[in-house]
Symmetry: C2
Subunit: 329 residues, 2 copies
């Protein structure tokens, strides 16, 4: 990780630069509000609906920003990435726009919709066993043999800066409404999204509290924020939040998050199911389980939001129709 030792943090200016790179390629997602949600929560809630982003999650932002920085001479070797699904689609879609070949290493148990969509963008998909194989080793091997550039899912300054455009847009839209965000909540897995969001939000609103949300059990960020050092979660088995199963915070991301985040909260699979159903019935948005974990924590009462302006990032909407049908019933 030569790059990360050279540049191990991300500035507000890096996010401004990412916004310029993304301007003609990423969707400028709106900031939504819902009277039904405000009433349910008893305060003013704003939603950043990243399921409306190109590829159905925020991941396109970081992937495209990173891949746009690959020198022309290195583009012919293409890119390789490991991902449970949303980063896979982000990289595959960015590769198609940038005319680069892409190979994606995905767990064999990733949701079908994520595998199919990744292939539909023209990427080659290599499956691995989540329990017995090391996805990073497989990806690095492909990178070495093909001369491909590895696009990390989160622990990279250019990826973090790209995800930070989510926070930059939130700050812009809240300012346009004449409002100050008191609390900003985002799902975390490796922590790239929230590191970028926190950097952008705190630059403009230093008093804002930025809170990470994780599936119950998969609470490596909540633990690490409490102890002040990177700690793995203790979960065995699975969660319905397939996008949020990273085992430990990233190095670069945690260096940012330990400085900027207020706390970490969690939500159970049952609480996530309630949130997905609420989004279907009241918000009319398709949110995948992992994308709803911040909303789930809020609806379950795990965040004291009284009299606060709260912004919740809904980070993606790539969910299989069968699972979605089950969750909304």
């Amino acid at each position: 990780m030569a790059e990360s030792s050279l540049r191990s943090t991300v500035s507000s200016a890096d996010i401004d630069a990412a916004a310029r790179v993304l301007a003609n390629f990423a969707v400028r997602t709106p900031l939504l509000s819902s009277p039904a949600l405000d009433e349910r929560a008893g305060t003013r809630i704003f939603l950043k609906p990243e399921m409306l982003q190109r590829t159905g999650s925020f991941k396109f932002r970081g992937a495209f920003n990173k891949m746009s920085s690959i020198p022309a001479a290195a583009r012919g070797g293409g890119v390789v990435a490991f991902s449970s699904g949303n980063h896979a689609q982000g990289v595959a879609a960015a590769a198609r726009i940038l005319h680069m070949p892409a190979t994606i290493v995905m767990p064999a148990d990733a949701p079908l919709t994520k595998r199919e969509r990744t292939k539909a963008y023209g990427a080659r998909v290599v499956l691995y066993d989540r329990v017995s194989e090391d996805r990073e080793a497989i990806a690095r091997d492909i990178a070495d043999k093909q001369g491909a550039t590895l696009v990390p899912p989160y622990d990279d300054p250019m990826v973090i800066a790209g995800q930070g455009t989510v926070g930059r847009e939130i700050a812009e839209d809240m300012a346009a409404l004449g409002l100050t965000p008191d609390i900003v909540i985002a799902p975390v897995s490796g922590g790239g999204l929230i590191a970028g969001v926190a950097t952008a939000i705190k630059a403009r609103y230093p008093q804002a509290m930025v809170i990470s949300a994780e599936p119950q059990g998969f609470d490596d960020h909540a633990r690490s924020l409490r102890s002040g050092k990177r700690e793995p979660h203790r979960a065995e088995g699975r969660t319905i939040c397939d996008a949020l199963m990273a085992s430990i915070p990233g190095e670069i991301t945690f260096a940012i998050n330990s400085r900027l985040l207020t706390q970490g909260v969690t939500a159970s699979d049952a609480e996530v199911t309630v949130a997905v159903g609420f989004a279907f019935r009241e918000l009319k948005l398709v949110v995948e389980p992992g994308g709803s974990v911040g909303l789930a924590a809020l609806l379950a009462g795990h965040i004291d939001a009284r009299d606060k302006n709260v912004v919740i990032v809904l980070s993606g909407g790539n969910v299989d129709a069968d699972l979605f049908a089950k969750l909304i019933r």
Copy 2:
């Protein structure tokens, strides 16, 4: 219909006035775009997602604008409305905000979610048989006995002006993007939404083509626009577009629509199913069958949209979970 004979048309200024009335109560819905949709359609498409409106459809706009005009002395008698579901919720939600009692006459076969949601807003629901009973007569009887004001679903200038704020926002947002809408498509049942939308759009963009979309068979607008006079559709039975089953264009609405609309198109239930599934998978929006009929007609190739800037109104998202699960599989 004393009022309609006094004022049987709607001006752009009426829509401006409605926008002021609605400012603190309706959701200012965004104009969305989707790279996946642009690619599929081969042109630039913009979506006006009225499922994100308060109550899950555009109907709140017209109901609230109309009910805000009821004199204080008449408010105690409350309101009565007949509706298959979305107007019901719009009226019920507006009544709660305005502290007026509301009675809604709904068909016994209306989707469960629409009945339940109407009750949840505090309205009294009276069911009738769609085949054997006359909903207008039932509603007028309640109005007479209780001194309630009837809130018509579409054939009323204040209702049309409220729905017209959808078109006003489209015009504003397209102007902010520096773009001209070439085609604007909206679902029609009684024609109130599109009459308001067309009034607002044509005031700013006289060259824009405004096109109505209906379920196949329930094509009273397409027929009437061709012949130049109000004609009923010939359909027997049902369509999955439960919101779009009015039998003939409204008088006031058709006086506007026959002047401003370019043509009417239709989409089959199978084409609507494709559109609902596309919205789930690619747009991550929950759209009800009737709300997607314009998108369905476009995706099915019934509208020549090449090299055009096309705006499609997705008019609502109130769909039962069971039906939605069936449609997306």
